[in-house]
Amino acid sequence: MRVLVGVKRVVDFAVRVRIGADKMGVDLANVKMSMNPFCEIAVEEAVRLKEAKIASDVVAVSIGPKQCQETLRTALAMGADRAIHILSDLRTDRDLQPLAVAKLLANIVGKEKADLVILGKQSIDDDCNQTGQMLAGLLSWPQATFASKLTIADDKKNATVVREIDGGLQTISCVLPAVVTCDLRLNEPRYSSLPNIMKARKKPLETLAASDLGVDLEPRLQTVSVAPPPERKAGVIVESVDELVAKLKAVGAVP
């Protein structure tokens, strides 16, 4: 079966972001970018399916500026077979929105005849948590979101997925083809070895223009402004447990 993995290039998770001077977004100039952590988990899961001889072909897809090719090379170094880059200059943390991304992915799913799509549950820039669900809706496929365990049946017609839900875990079974979105606990992504990084340079990477795919890319949500969150006022360091409890009692935080 063919597995499609969506990967997104985002500001590295450890970077403390700053609001740009125009107050319309986060400043992306000279900021370290990396693969979205949830997408790494998606790639790892797809590669594991390949190693278990369940997947025959793993295709990584990324949408955005030309630097997304670095993100795709990372996926190839982790073990994806080939990559598709959908080129768009819209800002992927603001203007290229989940509905358009889902439509672009649906287009590629159709072209590639994928049997399973694995995505991260959310990207850590827009924090939307929407693309996988939207893609499943557009394709009329089942969706298994927030997956912490994925098992493909031997006949490859069904998948059993353990999902992280409020209060605990839920297990569902869905017919394939399906869309799965990964939670943090699905797996531990591997580091790519230098030989694999070298090999990844030779793997096929196809580029398509987003504007050629017949998808309306117009953002449905117009950004009016972006502001820093309210700052908390400086706190105090207390010297002892008794002082702490006294302060908490004084402000009525404890009875």
Partner: protein
């Protein structure tokens, strides 16, 4: 009534209720408050599920909630466990008849699962995790793990929105009761795409994490699951809930539904006590709107101290027992 046809389309809101075993999830009540603040009335609530008794009891309880003008109740096997495929098609069916201008979900795992699928079926965007309402089409939402707040304006004819529960008060009981009506079930309610297999729900006598007034949260520095139990004793004294950082969950000290942060639960209690938690960006995203934050950590450089109202530098294994003693007095 032909004159209605030429009038501009009226506003009206649907809130899709999240509930568990016959009890409404508190986050639904926060979403009802958000709906009322949009001002797109009437505000009606959809309650659906597989068990008729449970649906009826939830429908009855939300019908008495302030701001609710009507309730749709739909009990059918296809909606057991609120699977996204079936519930989204039910909402599409209802929307075709009622033409809502706004469809709101609480930003629980249920709401996050269903709302985007529904939006794709309607060919509209989702405004996710809103924290305030600026008008019928303008909302604010956190991005970049809460380090930036975006104000967005929706250009879609139908606004599909998920509501961050901690950002809105829970709607109270009104003393009245709104009417409860059945809603039509689609011709093929069971899509057959997904089947529920089983559930493993963590049982607890303590207040629910998302709505607790006090939270005692532990991190990696607790060192073991046995030590993590120290937090429960402290939480019991304060009638609070216990939460955790991702490090504590990954180390196996507690179950992952206790995780607070960008990828876990977002909480905003009156008192948050962070014990042995360094305060990574991802953790702060889930708790920095708490009213009073206390940090207990042996590393005085830990970032958690930058947002804590009260910090105590020291060994948690001597501080926790001392704190228990001082609070029990």
């Amino acid at each position: 009534m032909w004159a209605l046809g030429i009038r501009r389309r009226a506003l009206s809101t649907l809130v899709v209720a999240d509930h568990v075993k016959g009890a409404v999830q508190p986050a639904t009540l926060n979403a009802i408050t958000a709906a009322a603040s949009i001002g797109a009335s009437p505000v009606r609530v959809l309650v659906t599920g597989g068990d008729k008794g449970a649906v009826d009891s939830v429908a009855k309880s939300v019908s008495g909630v302030d701001g609710v003008d009507g309730v749709f109740a739909v009990a059918h096997d296809a909606y057991s466990h609120l699977l996204a495929e079936n519930v989204s098609s039910l909402v599409v069916n209802l929307h075709q008849k009622e033409k809502f201008s706004h469809i709101l979900f609480p930003a629980t795992t249920f709401g996050k699962n269903v709302a985007p699928r529904l939006a794709a079926l309607l060919d509209v965007a989702v405004v996710s995790d809103i924290i305030s309402v600026g008008g019928p089409d303008t909302f604010t939402k956190p991005v970049y793990a809460g380090n930036a707040i975006a104000t967005v304006k929706s250009k879609d004819p139908v606004k599909v929105v998920t509501v961050r529960p901690t950002a809105f008060a829970a709607a109270a009981s009104s003393g009245k009761s709104a009417s409860i009506a059945d809603a039509a079930v689609p011709d093929q309610p069971e899509t057959g795409l997904t089947k529920w297999v089983s559930e493993d729900i963590v049982k607890s006598d303590r207040p629910e994490l998302a709505s607790a007034k006090v939270i005692v949260a532990g991190g990696r520095a607790l060192k073991s699951a046995e030590n993590f139990n120290l937090l429960y004793k402290l939480a019991d004294i304060l009638n609070g809930a216990v939460g955790a950082s991702r490090a504590a969950v990954d180390a196996g000290f507690c179950s992952n539904d206790l995780q607070i942060g960008q990828t876990g639960k977002v909480v905003a209690p009156d008192l948050y006590i962070a014990i042995g938690i360094s305060g990574a960006i991802q953790h702060l995203a889930g708790m920095k709107d708490s009213k009073v934050i206390v940090a207990i950590n042996k590393d005085k450089e830990a970032p958690i101290f930058q947002i804590a109202d009260y910090g105590l530098v020291g060994d948690l294994f001597t501080i926790i027992p001392a704190l228990e003693k001082a609070l029990s007095k």
